[in-house]
Amino acid sequence: MRWLSLLLILFTSSLHAETNVSGSVSTQLRYFHQDPQWPGQFSGRQASIAIEPEFRTKVGEGKFTFIPFYRHDEHDDERSHFDIRELHWQTQFDDWDVLIGINSLFWGVTESRHLVDIINQTDFVENLDNEDKLGQPMIQFGWVQDWGVLNFVVLPGFRERTFPAAEGRLRTPLPIDTDNAHYESGAEDKHIDFALRYTHVIDDWDLGAYYFYGTSREPRLLLNNSGTALIPYYDLINQVGVDLQLTQEAWLWKLEAIGREGQGKTFVAMVAGFEYTFYQLANSSTDLGVLFEYLYDDRDASAPQTFSDDDIFAGLRLALNDVDDTSILTGMILDRHTEEKLITFEAETRLSERWTLDAEARWFVDIEKNGLLNSLASDDYVQVEVAYHF
């Protein structure tokens, strides 16, 4: 897009001695101990490296930010990918703030599913948890008042979801043909989407509500004509969403809910639950958080498929509060009908001033042969990542 190249030129020309450079370089090693289930998939080790530098500079009253990202993966050509996570200029006036360019916005409060989060497309090849996002072109206006904050976001240009290649693990039984995505809109990926969001803090309550109109970030997956691959189909949708958090003593009560029209039958979905923290366990500096969430989704087969239709999430968060900020988050999502289980373990610590170590593991347990998760049934993995931060 021409205006983004213009931003990049403006950014480059505004670079000067005070440009702040930071970021990270990381090496990731995944290991799949089961044999692959689908033809063409690699087995065993998956190594990759990633780099994500961050450039920030001030220009008058405004700020420029540029964050490119690249990962090189030894097996999966789709996971070897480049993205511009951020490239934007922002400024603020009295009650207003404005941001123009590529950016990422996170909306929501719950842990097990990021239901209301809609602005950015998921960078699905990075991880299954929907927390890695592709940079989204946008023009964003924020209006800050005593009665709350209104955000108006115009989204020119759509990002397609990334999916693993045929050689990759953690994929659908048939690979996804990302080069032939279909759209409901004749404008295809040029459709201009928008969202209006209101947020406010009232004492112990943090609340948010929004309306979104545009291309669904979640595609339906349709069989291609030759029956050899799946094609992503992106519908135009109307979506409303609310997120609420009540913070009282050591309790965080959370709710996210959406209603979506335009992708098959209109449906609603929600995640509701709590996080309770036992601070300074047994007089140590360790905190233990207990998480519990209920996931509900009433979509039918005419909408993109989801695992989270009637599920329970239970988890533990351990924070050692040591000098290395060591923490562990582990949890299980249990499908109440099928009794399928998705178990996750994440841990992180600091090795030194500039080095960090992360570990992650996922297990797919008691997976039904004909169910949605069957495609991942042989993809239990453990992962270690070492990162250098500059």
Binding site: L252, Y279, Q280, S285, D287, D325, E353
Partner: protein, 281 residues
């Protein structure tokens, strides 16, 4: 306890009018009421010393400062963090200051920010911004006594310095270095404090806190904070350039160096709303 209440209780006693009982009641008065009156003076005096110290800071409007935090373990090995702190002065003594802490290093937490709206007796409002996910989380502020980023400072040592968060009692006056200090005991009035009491040394010259001793929930002395190198800004506001927290139990130590103080930056309430967190860098 106050004088009136004690007096009413005494009046309520059905005493005969004999001289002996009058004498006896006078003795009771001497034993009970006089010490109560002295105690009241100690409480008042303690509060006055604390209030004079707190109010010496009135009108600073806002400030920014950079901090270097060095954590030493018992073996003397050190870990370092750098952060900056923005503060917006409270509107009145019924609420607390608003503050924004932004981490600079270690590099992996660069851009992590903590926004606090301090209250007096209610729980503070706090939001944490995690740059990796671009996520702003409202967090519980019950965890007052937990370590702040692995240091010997607890959250409450940072955020709970408002005058009305404590009740006070004057203990004595004594020399503290080159100065004379009033020694005042302060007891947290807010919930979830990790301390039963604190003893603070406030100098008699410019009314600044020079030293604080912290007593844990069992009443044992836990930590000692010393505040050094006070400097005067804008001809009015005193700020310590160095704070050292010694943990007597773990033998760990945290040293905070403050530098580059800037006052009256023209910050407004909106600069301390949770929406600013995502564009803080």
């Amino acid at each position: 306890m106050n004088y009136n209440k004690a007096h009413k209780q005494l009046k309520g006693l059905k005493l005969s009018n004999s001289v002996a009982t009058r004498l006896f009641s006078s003795l009771i008065c001497l034993f009970f009421i006089v010490p109560l009156a002295i105690a009241e003076t100690d409480l008042e005096k303690g509060f006055e010393i604390a209030a004079r110290s707190d109010r010496s800071d009135l009108g600073f409007a806002d400030s920014t400062v950079k901090l270097k935090m060095v954590l030493y373990n018992a073996a003397g090995e050190k870990n370092q963090r750098t952060l900056s702190l923005r503060t917006l002065e409270k509107e009145n003594e019924q609420v607390g200051d608003k503050s924004l802490i932004i981490f600079d290093s270690p590099a992996d937490i660069n851009g992590t920010a903590l926004l606090s709206h301090a209250k007096i007796l209610d729980a503070d409002n706090q939001w944490l911004f995690l740059p990796a996910l671009k996520r702003t989380k409202r967090i519980s502020s019950v965890n007052k006594s937990g370590p702040f980023v692995g240091s010997e400072f607890a959250f409450e040592d940072f955020t709970s310095q408002e005058l009305n968060k404590f009740s006070y009692r004057y203990l004595r006056s004594e020399a503290c270095g080159d100065l004379m200090c009033d020694v005042v005991e302060r007891t947290p009035r807010y919930e979830h404090s990790g301390y039963t009491r604190q003893v603070s040394w406030v100098d008699q010259k410019v009314y600044q806190v020079r030293r604080v001793e912290f007593y844990d929930r069992r009443g044992a002395k836990l930590k000692i904070l010393t505040l050094d190198d006070y400097r005067l800004y804008n001809n009015k506001y005193w700020r310590a350039q160095k704070m050292t927290m010694n943990n007597l139990v773990t033998k760990k130590r945290t040293v905070l160096d403050y530098f580059d103080y800037q006052f009256t930056n023209g910050f407004k309430k909106r600069d301390f709303q949770k929406t600013v967190l995502k564009r803080i860098r």
